[in-house]
C-alpha cells in the first residue's frame, strides 16, 4: 500500500461576511496516497476551490473559521502557525492556479519568479536556482528554456504560461500538486497537453495530484478517485469507474449529461441542470440538490448522509432514491434524450 500523504477529516470552512455566514465547505473528508490522482468536480460555488486553498493555508483570515482536520503526513495543517505553513507551501504542497494570466507577475521575468520561489524555500545561490529553473522549464516542455527563462509573462502564450506555473509549483519538489482548474482558460488542444503533462510529472516527481475541474470529461483518463461536490458537500465519491459507469447521484448525471459528447450521436437537446447552485448563506433544507433535482420526492426534505448504497465498497453518495430506480432512469439524463427535458 502506498504511503498516505493527506487525510482530510470532516473539514468545514465558514466565512463571516456582511450578508451573513457563508458555509463554503460543510464537512468533507478524503484521503490521498502517493502516486494517486484525486479529481474534485463541481460547479462554480460548490466549494472545490475553497477546499484546495484551505489545504494550502490560503483561506486564513480574521473572518474565516475552520473545523475538522487536514492531516499531512500526520501534521494537522489547520493548526500549524502561519510562519510554519510557509515551509509546507511549496516544499510539500504545490499549487497551480486557474488563470495563468493573473497568477504570474507581469513585471518580472518568468525565470526570476521561479528563482524567487526556489530561494524562498531553499538555501541555494542564485546561479544554482537559475540552473534548476531552466531544467524545470525544460521538463514542462518549454522550448529553448535557456532563452525563454528571461522572457516576461506577456511573451508567453496561454499554454506556456500554464507550463511556467506548473514549473513554479514543482520547483521545490512537493509531494502533493494541487491543480485548481488548470485547463479551464485554455484551448482544447493545449488542455490535452497540460493534462498529459500533469500525469507525466506525477510519475517523474513521484507525487500525488488533486485535480479540480468543472468538466468531468477532462479527468476521465487521469483520475483514480473522484469526488463530486455540491453546496460545500461531497455528494458522491468513488473510483473513476464507479463515477462514470455507475453514477448514483442525479447531480452527477446532470454533469455527465451536460457535456456535448463526441462518442455518441448528437442529441436533439443537451441535458441541462435547471437553475443555479444555491446560495451558501441560505442553504435549502434537506438535500441541497432538491430544488434542481427532477427526481425529488418527500423524503428529500431530510438531508441524506454520505453512505455506501451500492455493492461496490468505497462508492458513497447522498441520495435517497432506490438504487434500481436510479439505474433504470439515469441514462435518460446522461445521454441527453430525456423526455422530461421538454
Amino acid at each position: 500500500m502506498a504511503e498516505r500523504l493527506l487525510e482530510v477529516n470532516d473539514l468545514k470552512v465558514r466565512f463571516a461576511t456582511e450578508d451573513g455566514i457563508v458555509q463554503a465547505v460543510s464537512g468533507i473528508s478524503f484521503e490521498l496516497e502517493r502516486g494517486k490522482v484525486l479529481g474534485i468536480v463541481g460547479e462554480s460555488g460548490s466549494g472545490k476551490s475553497v477546499t484546495a486553498m484551505t489545504l494550502m493555508g490560503l483561506t486564513r483570515g480574521v473572518n474565516a473559521r475552520f473545523e475538522g482536520e487536514v492531516l499531512y503526513k500526520g501534521t494537522d495543517l489547520l493548526k500549524v502557525s502561519d510562519r510554519d505553513m510557509q515551509d509546507f507551501r511549496g516544499n510539500e504542497l504545490g499549487m497551480i492556479f486557474q488563470d495563468p494570466m493573473t497568477s504570474l507577475n507581469p513585471v518580472y521575468r518568468i525565470g526570476d519568479q521561479i528563482v524567487e520561489a526556489i530561494q524562498a524555500h531553499e538555501n541555494v545561490d542564485k546561479r544554482t536556482a537559475r540552473a534548476r529553473t531552466i531544467e524545470l522549464l525544460r521538463q514542462v516542455g518549454i522550448p529553448n528554456p535557456e532563452t525563454r527563462v528571461d522572457n516576461f509573462p506577456h511573451e508567453f502564450s496561454g499554454g506556456m504560461r500554464q507550463r511556467a506555473m506548473i514549473a513554479m509549483a514543482l520547483s521545490c519538489n512537493p509531494s502533493i500538486l494541487i491543480a485548481d482548474e488548470p485547463t479551464t482558460a485554455l484551448d482544447v488542444t493545449i488542455q490535452a497537453q497540460i493534462v498529459e503533462l500533469v500525469s507525466r510529472l506525477k510519475e517523474d516527481f513521484d507525487s500525488a495530484v488533486i485535480f479540480i475541474t468543472h468538466d468531468l470529461g477532462v479527468i476521465a483518463d487521469i483520475a483514480d478517485e473522484i469526488i463530486v461536490m455540491y453546496a460545500g458537500r461531497v455528494v458522491e465519491r468513488g473510483s473513476k469507474r464507479d463515477l462514470f459507469y455507475d453514477p448514483q447521484m442525479p447531480y452527477t448525471w446532470g454533469l455527465l449529461g451536460s457535456i456535448p459528447r463526441l462518442d455518441r450521436p448528437r442529441p436533439e437537446r443537451l441535458h441541462t441542470i435547471e437553475g443555479s447552485p444555491p446560495s451558501l448563506i441560505n442553504l435549502p433544507d434537506g438535500c441541497k440538490f432538491r430544488p434542481r433535482c427532477p427526481h425529488a420526492f418527500e423524503k428529500c426534505t431530510q438531508e441524506p448522509g454520505l453512505e455506501n448504497r451500492v455493492e461496490t465498497p468505497g462508492h458513497l453518495d447522498r441520495c435517497w432514491l432506490d438504487v434500481d430506480f436510479k439505474r433504470s432512469h439515469r441514462d435518460q439524463t446522461i445521454s441527453g434524450d430525456s423526455a422530461e427535458a421538454a
Binding site: 460547479e43 462554480s44 522550448p143 502564450s157 496561454g158 499554454g159 506556456m160 484551448d187 482544447v188 488542444t189 493545449i190 488542455q191 490535452a192 497537453q193 498529459e196 468543472h214 468538466d215 468531468l216 470529461g217 477532462v218 476521465a220 483518463d221 473513476k240 469507474r241 462514470f244 446532470g254 454533469l255 455527465l256 449529461g257 451536460s258 457535456i259 456535448p260 459528447r261 463526441l262 462518442d263 448528437r266 437537446r269 443537451l270 441535458h271 441541462t272 441542470i273 435547471e274 443555479s276
Partner: protein, 379 residues
C-alpha cells in the same frame, strides 16, 4: 469548384458572402512608426453563410477566428476582400450607410464579465441598441426589454439591476438579450460559452438553439471546442493561422475529417468515458500555433503535422472539394478513397481558378514564393 460557388448553388440564398477577406495588422517600429511587418490574422478567407443556418468556426487561440468575426461586422476594417451582406457589399460603406445594416448583424462576446458595462443597469444595456437606432417610444422600448429578458430566461424584474448582481451564465444571457434587441438576422457569437461551467454551457447552447427557431436567426458560432460546435452547427469551418483549412457539413467533419489538423482537434476533445479515453489514440499537437507574423511556408500546419512531407513545406495546398460539399486544404488527405482522390487530381489540373484561391498574398514578410502553377502540384 470554389467555396463561393458552393454557397450559391445550394438551395438557401446566401445571407453573407465573404470573398478573399484579409485582415493584416501592421507592426510599427521606430520614431517614424514605419511598418516593419504584418500580423496575418486573417489571410484570404472565403465562405458563405445561408439564411437560417449555423456556421461553426473552430480553431485554436491565435488562428484569427475572432478577428474574422469582428471583421465581418466591420468592428475591424478588412485589409482586402469583399463582404457581401444580403447582396450589398459592405466592406467600403461609410458609417451612415453601415448603421442600418448593423441592426441586422449583432455580436455576442466571449467574456460575460468584460462585455457588460458595470455601471449601467440591465435595462439600459439591453435598450441602448434600440435607443441608438431610434426604435419606438421609450415605453415601447421598456416593454420590449421585458419581453426579451423573458425570452432569454431572465425576468423583467431584472430591469433595474446591475451586471455584478448576476452569475456568469446570467450575464451571458444579458449579452444575448442585447444582441437580440434589434431583431437581427445574423448573430456572430464569439466563444459564447467557453467562460462558463459545463452545466451552464448546455443551458446556453439550448437557449441559442431555441432562439434560432423562434426568430429565424443565422449564426456564426466561434469556438475552440469541437464538442460544443457540433451541437449547434449545420456546417463547420476549421481555421488555422488565418486560413480556412477544412469546411464541411457538421456531422461529416466528425466521422470523416480530411485535414490532419481537424483529426488532432477532434482527438483533443475530452471524452467523459474512461475506457474510451484510454483506448483512443490521442494526437497531442506539439507546441503552439506559430506566429502569424511569419507564417510557415507551404502548408501552414506542416511544422506540427505528423504526416508532413517535402511537398507540404514548399507548396501551399488549395482548398479542394472532396465531394458532398466537404472541402479541405491538404496534400495528404485522410479518409478519402482512391477514386475521389483521382477525380480531385484531375479537377486540380484543369481548374485555373484554384491557382487564384491558393495564390500567396503579396506581403512584406520577404518570402519569395511565387504563385504555384497547378501542374507542379504533384504528390
Amino acid at each position: 469548384m470554389t467555396v463561393l460557388e458552393h454557397a450559391s448553388e445550394s438551395d438557401g440564398s446566401a445571407l453573407l458572402e465573404v470573398r478573399h477577406v484579409k485582415k493584416y495588422f501592421p507592426i510599427r517600429k521606430g520614431v517614424l512608426q514605419r511598418e516593419v511587418a504584418h500580423v496575418h490574422a486573417v489571410d484570404d478567407v472565403s465562405f458563405a453563410v445561408r439564411e437560417g443556418e449555423t456556421l461553426g468556426l473552430v480553431g485554436e487561440s491565435g488562428c484569427g477566428k475572432s478577428t474574422l468575426g469582428r471583421t465581418l461586422v466591420r468592428l475591424l476594417e478588412p485589409t482586402a476582400g469583399e463582404i457581401v451582406f444580403q447582396g450589398t457589399p459592405i466592406q467600403d460603406l461609410g458609417p451612415r450607410r453601415l448603421r442600418p445594416l448593423r441592426r441586422e448583424m449583432q455580436m455576442v462576446f466571449q467574456d460575460p464579465y468584460a462585455s457588460l458595462n458595470p455601471r449601467k443597469r440591465v435595462g439600459t444595456i439591453v435598450s441602448d441598441p434600440m435607443r441608438i437606432h431610434d426604435l419606438g417610444s421609450r415605453a415601447d422600448q421598456k416593454r420590449r426589454v421585458g419581453e426579451i429578458l423573458e425570452t432569454v430566461g431572465l425576468s423583467p424584474e431584472h430591469y433595474n439591476r446591475f451586471p455584478h448582481e448576476f452569475s456568469g451564465g446570467q450575464r451571458q444571457r444579458i449579452g444575448i438579450a442585447r444582441a437580440l434587441a434589434l431583431r437581427p438576422k445574423l448573430i456572430i457569437a464569439d466563444e459564447p460559452v467557453s467562460a462558463l461551467d459545463v452545466s451552464i454551457q448546455s443551458q446556453m447552447l439550448n437557449l441559442l438553439d431555441d432562439l434560432q427557431n423562434e426568430f429565424q436567426l443565422t449564426y456564426i458560432f466561434i469556438a475552440h471546442d469541437l464538442g460544443v460546435v457540433r451541437h449547434v452547427s449545420d456546417r463547420i469551418a476549421v481555421m488555422y493561422l488565418g486560413k480556412i483549412v477544412e469546411l464541411s457539413p457538421a456531422e461529416e467533419l466528425y466521422t470523416r475529417p480530411i485535414m490532419p489538423y481537424t483529426e488532432a482537434l477532434l482527438s483533443a476533445v475530452p471524452l467523459p468515458d474512461p475506457d474510451l479515453a484510454e483506448q483512443r489514440e490521442r494526437i497531442v499537437l506539439e507546441g503552439d500555433v506559430p506566429s502569424p507574423i511569419n507564417p510557415p511556408s507551404g502548408c501552414r500546419f506542416h511544422p506540427r503535422c505528423r504526416y508532413a512531407t517535402d511537398v507540404c513545406r514548399q507548396i501551399e495546398p488549395p482548398l479542394v472539394d472532396y465531394g458532398n460539399a466537404h472541402l479541405a486544404a491538404c496534400h495528404h488527405p485522410l479518409n478519402v478513397d482512391k477514386a475521389t482522390l483521382q477525380q480531385v487530381e484531375v479537377a486540380k489540373q484543369h481548374s485555373p481558378a484554384e491557382a487564384d484561391d491558393s495564390a500567396l498574398p503579396q506581403d512584406t514578410s520577404g518570402r519569395s514564393n511565387p504563385a504555384v502553377a497547378p501542374d507542379t502540384r504533384s504528390r
